[in-house]
């Protein structure tokens, strides 16, 4: 029952403050179990959806006096799995990491509300519902970025809030134009009458507003101004959630769904995607070089990696879209890992400035190893997952005869390896910095989360044919296949 993906995390969030009074460890366990249950439910749909089925849930069929429905196709399932995967490890990591930040029950409640919002967003078949769930995830996100923070760090949360408001306003404005033109916001209905009742000029305005709104949510260049402040300001697990999944669901999923279902991927939109992709890939990589704050470097790296996804989508081919979606899935895994590693380093040493660290690899062996794996995955070193998706992006660009862009993508990958190796050299290798002699490896929960994510980077890299066949290809079919059926 698809409604459970929204209602379950919401219900657990509602009772979370009460559980805190029963036991201080109970919220930790319940939050992780809830996300694990969601993941298990999603796994149950994988075979069905990979077989080409689209799962529908309608309230009226179950005797509930409400006329709404939810839908799970390949694209929805890919995002649901990614949300639960990242959220599960972030939740485990938070059980220790978030202790000094304040009441963990409130933190988990907000995290679960964010998950409910994202799940609702990827399951809904109505554009206004999509907007409402986008707001649900965003409201929880603002609070989580500022959770337990003081002084300058609150600035990041405030910047995130302000620019998100601008983003949601332009999205809402665009939705109102679509409603004005067509009289409906139902995705299947819009898909069935794609372009028929729409004015070409107003469509262009809608697309521009969507690109600005969702571009701000994603943090793609030139809408990336808030991102390098918000990601480092948030607690590490929230940085991982923001970079790993929130931006992708509230930005990329929504944009892809609307573009493919409502307007269709025209050559003009493909061209815009390619331009945004090249700009993000290069600007993000160049700005990451020389960053001395670990998490700020990762934030710029995220901008760069999003560029690769847009390059894939911009080709407009099945191969390119598959490559973009696969890189999105992989990025969620390896960038969450790196943000959690940054949190582990900060937790163990109390230092974020990379130049003030040095030689800590021997003191933090698990964090050092998992960071190396995350770095290799991001830079596209075989056999880790990032290698395959970057290779597919480059192959798709070559297939679309965009040779120069393919060369730029290879160049940006080399830049990625450069700034991350610089980070490794500063922080983990070389002579141990005075004063760090007595640091110890992070507690089990944190190390377990990062170790599992590192293992996933390797496992996805080795088993990529299974992942692409069961998660990525159904996503591509959902986007490029037949129009959404009318219910």
């Amino acid at each position: 029952m698809l409604l459970l993906f929204i209602v379950l995390p919401l219900a657990v969030a509602a009772v979370m403050p009460l559980l805190d009074r029963v036991s201080r460890r109970l919220p930790d366990a319940l939050a992780s179990l809830t996300v694990a249950a969601l993941f298990a439910m999603e796994c149950g749909y994988v075979t069905l959806v990979a077989g080409g089925e689209v799962v529908y849930w309608s309230a009226t069929k179950y005797g509930v006096p409400a006329g709404f429905s939810l839908m799970m196709d390949g694209l929805s399932l890919l995002f649901l799995v990614t949300i639960s995967l990242v959220a599960f490890f972030c939740s485990i990591f938070s059980s220790t990491y978030m202790a000094p930040y304040g009441k963990k029950s409130t933190f988990y409640a907000l995290l679960l509300i964010m998950i409910a919002g994202m799940n609702g967003l990827v399951l809904t078949t109505d554009l206004f519902n999509l907007y409402v769930f986008l707001e649900v995830a965003a409201v929880a996100g603002y609070a989580l970025v500022g959770f337990g923070q003081q002084g300058d760090n609150v600035e990041g949360a405030f910047k995130y809030l302000m620019l998100s408001v601008v983003a949601t306003t332009s999205i809402l404005l665009s939705l109102s134009f679509i409603y004005f033109m067509t009289g409906t916001l139902s995705l299947p209905l819009l898909a069935s009458q794609a372009g028929a009742a729409m004015n070409a000029k107003l469509i262009a305005v809608c697309i521009a507003l969507f690109l600005m709104g969702f571009g701000l949510k994603i943090g793609v260049v030139p809408f990336h101004g808030w991102l390098p402040d918000a990601y480092p300001a948030a607690p590490a697990p929230i940085s991982a959630m923001l970079s790993g999944i929130l931006g992708k669901v509230t930005g990329i999923y929504a944009l892809l769904r609307i573009v493919f279902s409502v307007f269709g991927l025209t050559p003009d939109i493909s061209h815009i995607f390619t331009v945004l992709g090249v700009a993000s890939m290069l600007v993000g990589a160049l700005l990451a070089i020389g960053q001395t704050d670990f998490r700020r470097m990762l934030a710029y790296s995220s901008i760069s990696q999003v560029g690769y996804m847009f390059l894939g989508f911009g080709t407009g081919t099945a191969m390119g879209i598959a490559a973009g979606l696969f890189h999105l899935f992989n990025h969620a895994v390896f960038k969450s890992l790196l943000f959690l590693d940054a949190g582990s380093t900060e937790y163990a040493t109390g230092i974020r400035d990379l130049r003030k660290l040095g030689g800590i690899n021997n003191r933090l062996p698990i964090t050092g190893l998992t960071t190396t794996i995350g770095v290799f995955s991001t830079a596209g070193v075989p056999p880790f997952n990032g290698f395959w998706s970057k290779l597919f992006v480059i192959l798709a660009l070559v297939g679309a005869q965009q040779y120069f862009v393919a060369v730029l993508a290879i160049g940006a990958s080399i830049l990625t390896l450069w700034y991350f190796l610089q980070m490794q050299r500063w922080a983990f290798y070389g002579k141990l910095t005075a004063g760090l002699e007595f640091i110890r490896e992070v507690p089990f929960g944190m190390a377990f989360a990062t170790f599992c994510l590192a293992l996933l980077c390797l496992a996805i890299g080795l088993c990529y044919p299974w992942i692409t066949a069961n998660l990525i290809e159904p996503g591509v079919t959902a986007l490029m296949g037949a129009k959404m059926p009318l219910m």
């Binding site: 919401l10 969030a13 000094p100 907000l110 609702g120 649900v136 959770f147 409603y179 004005f180």
Partner: protein
């Protein structure tokens, strides 16, 4: 008819800007209340009486009372006003007007209005068409409540500092 709606819209934009720019929080909250009241009038004129009533009672009424009470209970000092927001507002409004005149009006005259998916009663609209929004709104309210709890409570560091 259009002229009155335009005047209402301009006034709404003005009060919205004042709500953002005024440093005095009570005045900002009252500006927001005026903006909501004007929006309620506008909604009523556009044949959306239910939305108008909710806007007036909840946003202009209840939320303003909450804001003003909270500000009164927590305020420690007065802030002096800056005059630059007024210039920014006038310039912004002029720019908006120009864009509106140049682009939007021309566009809208060429577009046939959609049929709309209008239900007969408020209940039909709420439960028959927009029921999932209610789940979303509940989640937003939860998010807001937990957000306030998260951002306004003392952290361990605060407690240590107080000690």
């Amino acid at each position: 008819m259009d002229a009155i709606n335009t005047v209402l819209l301009v006034m709404m934009a003005g009060f919205a800007c004042l709500a953002v720019f005024l440093k005095d929080l009570v005045r900002a909250a009252l500006s927001l209340a005026f903006m909501s009241a004007l929006l309620a009038v506008l909604l009523y004129r556009l044949n959306s009486p239910y939305a108008a009533v909710f806007e007036l009672s909840v946003v202009a009424g209840l939320i303003t009372v909450l804001f003003v009470s909270t500000i009164a209970l927590t305020r420690e000092h007065e802030d002096t006003e800056s005059s630059w927001p007024l210039y920014v507002f006038v310039l912004g409004l002029l720019l908006f007007g120009l864009i509106d005149l140049a682009v939007m009006k021309a566009l809208f005259h060429n577009v046939p209005a959609g049929d709309g998916n209008v239900a007969k009663t408020f209940g039909d609209t709420l439960w028959g068409v927009r029921a999932l929004d209610i789940v979303g709104q509940i989640a937003v309210i939860f998010g807001g409540v937990f957000g306030v709890l998260a951002l306004l409570r003392d952290t361990e560091k605060d407690k240590d500092l107080k000690k």
